[in-house]
């Protein structure tokens, strides 16, 4: 681009007024802004802090927290061991062992004999949820995932199903629920998952 190009836009530094150059009036402007915040918190209760253990933070409905394994109407895991989630997983944290479905389950060929997610390896990207063709794996709004050892952070099928039992009231399966007119926040879950799921 040539310097006399007509498309070239020349930007001048802003002209400083006397007040800008003395600097003190602008400092006063800044002090007013800070004072509004300080007085707002002190007298009008404008703080955005959530006092966590007493008040539970409510994540947005699309929050990606701990996984759950959904059950169908008869209480069986919806999973058909197709391995799509394990393939989609960028962190390779899903380990499924499939087996031939029992004869009493005519609607599917396979079911997961074991379904293990390493919650420490997972990056909570939600791609398993997107890949699943039968809405079996979903990410819930549970965020207080804690544990005392690495072993207890590896969730097996029982644990994942119990997460579903725990959260199905607060977060119905997306495909079952009627389409939402507007996003409603997930209701508060009062028990931390690590406490309720441990023996």
């Amino acid at each position: 681009m040539r310097p006399d190009d007509p498309k070239l836009k020349k930007i001048e530094p802003p002209k400083l007024t006397l007040g800008d150059r003395i600097y003190l009036p602008r400092i006063l402007d800044g002090l007013v802004v800070t004072a509004e915040h300080i007085l707002g918190v002190a007298f009008r209760d404008k703080a955005i802090t959530v006092e966590y253990p007493e008040v539970q933070h409510v994540p947005s409905p699309i929050y990606r927290g701990v996984h759950r394994l959904n059950r169908d109407e008869e209480g069986r895991p919806r999973c058909v061991a197709c391995m799509l989630c394990a393939t989609a997983c960028p962190a390779h944290c899903i380990d499924i062992v499939g087996a031939t479905a029992p004869a009493s389950w005519p609607d599917r060929e396979k079911y997961p004999e074991s379904f293990v997610i390493d919650e420490l390896r997972c990056i909570y990207c939600g791609m398993c949820e997107e890949a699943c063709p039968c809405e079996a794996i979903e990410l819930t709004g549970l965020y207080d995932l804690t544990g005392l050892s690495r072993e207890e952070m590896i969730f097996d099928k029982t644990k994942l199903l119990s997460v579903f039992d725990m959260t199905k009231e607060a977060e119905p399966m997306v495909f079952n629920a009627p389409p939402r007119s507007e996003a409603t926040p997930t209701e508060t879950l009062d028990s931390p998952i690590s406490k309720s799921l441990l023996p």
Binding site: L24, I27, A35, K46, A47, T49
Partner: protein, 349 residues
């Protein structure tokens, strides 16, 4: 000079040391609260809740215990004697400045002199001299650490403190000329009969207070410890109570600076028409001490308020501000004050 006079001074020293140390502990809590409020947070409110004590009033105790119980790491590569000396210099220089600071009325008609060294003729000069000694703590601490960040922090602070000492001193001189004394008590008494100093010397007040920010290493002039560039500046290699002593020294400095500001420009214990030198007696004396402390507290709150308002200066801007604006302004102010004082003394009285 009787033995009772000496005992009185020792008692006063103990009271001042105790009160200021306690005040520093709670100032840190207040600072954290102001920081939180200006960022729309709540700030510390848990410590002491189990015992029914509100607003984290036990937090200073927990902070102090943490400082004392932490592991005190002394790296192998430091120059040990100087490294160990620096935090002490920080605290001692900050403490002995209080000797000449009046914290209430004094004089022959008072039942007690509210000053550790009463009627010292060169009070302002003494506080200024002691205040400049504080730079040794920062420089020696940064230099003895043998760490590039600490070293740069120490260097910056030496240049900064020496530069801002000049407008600080020049702006005080204007007030000294007007009041005709270097004794802080007499300056307060002059303001008692003529009105507050900030009315006579507004420019000097702005210059003095700005320089006081730089002298106490507060934002927007906290170049010696600018975290984003220098890890923690001069106290990078200090841990546990040695770091705590630097911290304590910094806050004590703020208290001293605010004491001098209030004494020079806001009439000390004086409230126009409400509390003047005409009011004597124990009740009014106690009120005067409280008013003085309240004014100092307001000044400290203002310093914290500014801290959370202004971003840090760039180093060349810092030097520009001192040498190209503040020192010329202070000189003009001093010359104008001298001329006017001379004119008034010649033709008026």
């Amino acid at each position: 000079m009787t033995i009772w006079f000496l005992i009185g001074i020792v008692v006063k020293i103990l009271i001042v040391v105790g009160v200021t140390q306690g005040a520093v502990a709670y100032l840190i809590l207040v600072e954290r609260k102001v920081a939180a409020y200006s960022q729309d947070r709540i700030g510390p409110n848990r410590c002491g809740r189990e015992f029914g004590i509100p607003a984290a009033l036990l937090l200073p105790l927990a902070d102090g215990a943490k400082m004392l119980l932490k592991e005190d790491v002394i790296p192998k590569y430091v120059t040990k004697p100087i490294y160990l000396m620096a935090p002490w210099i920080a605290i001692v220089t900050a403490m002995i400045g209080f000797a000449a600071a009046p914290f209430g009325p004094l004089g022959p008609d008072q039942w007690i002199d509210f000053q550790i060294a009463p009627n010292i003729d060169i009070g302002v000069l003494y506080i200024m001299a002691i205040g400049s000694l504080a730079v040794y703590a920062v420089i020696l601490g940064g230099w003895a650490s043998n760490n590039k960040y600490a070293f740069i922090g120490g260097l910056r602070s030496s240049a900064q403190l020496i530069s801002y000492e000049i407008p600080l001193g020049l702006s005080i001189l204007g007030m000294v000329l007007v009041a005709g004394s270097l004794d802080l008590n007499r300056i307060i008494l002059w303001q008692d009969s003529h009105g507050w100093g900030c009315l006579y010397q507004p420019l000097a007040f702005v210059l003095f207070f700005t320089s006081a920010f730089a002298e106490t290493n507060r934002l927007p002039f906290d170049l010696p410890e600018s975290e984003q560039e220098l890890v923690a500046g001069f106290h990078t290699e200090y841990s546990a109570m040695k770091f705590g002593m630097f911290f304590l020294g910094e806050y004590l400095h703020i208290i001293t600076a605010c004491f001098v500001t209030v004494a020079l420009f806001f009439g000390g214990w004086n409230l126009p028409w409400i509390l003047t030198s005409a009011h004597t007696g124990i009740v009014f004396t106690a009120l005067k001490v409280l008013v003085f402390a309240g004014k100092v507290a307001l000044a400290i709150l203002f310093i914290m308020w500014v801290r959370w308002t202004l971003p840090r200066f760039r180093y060349d801007q810092l030097m520009d501000l001192a040498w190209k604006s503040m020192i010329p302004l202070a000189l003009i102010n001093l010359a104008a004050t001298a001329a006017i004082v001379q004119l008034v003394r010649t033709y008026w009285s």
